[in-house]
Symmetry: C2
Subunit: 189 residues, 2 copies
DNA sequence: GCTAGCATGTAATCGGTTACATGATTTT
DNA sequence: AAAATCATGTAACCGATTACATGCTAGC
């Protein structure tokens, strides 16, 4: 069970609708997990049926009605159990890496292009995460926040995402440059 | 189709049996993809049926017989097509991050322990990848290898893996320290 | 008038994980 | 004598992706 606990963790910071959660789990701002809207709606239904979250209907005049969810005590207990169990290792699985692995046996140009594109999206995500980190710190400097701030968790996962995106950007840029120097849009000899 | 192309890319460097591939795709040394033995045996069967790889039986006296596979021209063409198609973005999905996200609402001690454990495995993987990088360079210095070496692909994915593992180690160590300073094995106030 | 955003889902499929199964040889 | 290594699979299940579906409001 995977998404389940990610949703519980996301709901710790307040009430969210499926739609709001979907936005958070989508786009680069998903620091610690990723999921599509359909998955989230399904998972919210199951979590509510299991009593781990509870929802309340919010009637809106000008917008469709929505349901806002929060974690119940049972839900918190479930998170607690999950966090105490040993985590399974995580793996890299990335199409782009497969392409780079093969790059000197196939046409290099499209791979170089994709590396450049990935570098750009990683840089953009890094920018967003920098802003998120600043917002989470809320004016304090980092040392102060780490010593006295509430909710270190989201800040730490944000730092992780930030480091990851910067790393991705740097590696993509460097790799693209190296490959350009070797193959310059052409093919392997 | 995902694993398919990872297997093709892995087979570019020579002939491998399912068993040998499984070792490469398992353990930390899977620079660019991860898969379990069962998946690999199934995928090899399909790839052979589709004519993208070909295998030859090797009869062994003291060991069970095995089949060694290599990529066919059709297989290479398929990789080519795959590499030219735009890559889908990759996402972080890590149990440990979910736990850290929730850390100040639940018992911190087990999370800190798991961060420390993850730091250790990441450090170990980094060590293995450093050795792999040195082996791929084969005595030359990096600039020389990047300019004149064959098979840049595996080296670049290795560098990526190395940077990722170091990053993971550093983040885990730092986060564990920060959390220890705050909660020191105890619970959130 | 058209596009983007709010809000929520169902159904089919695919890819990955878990569990189970076998059997010989080499190393501890 | 026990454990690890070589070598190859089958079957059931679960989680994630893709495709499809609906309908109203705000802004360009």
């Amino acid at each position: 069970m995977a998404l389940r606990h990610a949703v519980l963790a996301a709901l710790l910071d307040g009430e969210y609708s499926g739609y709001q959660l979907a936005k958070a789990f989508d786009a680069g701002v998903a620091n610690f997990w990723h999921a599509l809207p359909q998955q989230l709606y399904a998972e919210l239904t199951k979590l509510e049926a299991d009593g781990l979250i509870a929802g309340r209907q919010v009637i809106q005049e000008t917008r469709p009605n929505k349901r806002l969810f929060h974690v119940t005590e049972e839900g918190l207990a479930e998170l607690e159990r999950f966090a105490a169990a040993t985590a399974k290792p995580s793996f890299i699985r990335d199409d782009l890496l497969v392409k780079v692995q093969a790059v000197d046996r196939i046409e290099a140009a499209p791979v170089i292009e994709q590396l450049a594109a990935r570098a750009r999206t990683a840089a953009a995500k890094a920018g967003i995460l920098e802003q998120l980190a600043a917002r989470l710190r809320g004016g304090r400097d980092e040392a102060d926040f780490l010593a006295h701030g509430t909710r270190l968790g989201p800040y730490l996962t944000c730092l992780r995402g930030l480091a990851f995106e910067r790393e991705t950007r740097d590696w993509c840029e460097r790799s693209a440059e190296i490959l350009r120097a070797r193959y310059d849009g052409g093919r392997q000899p």
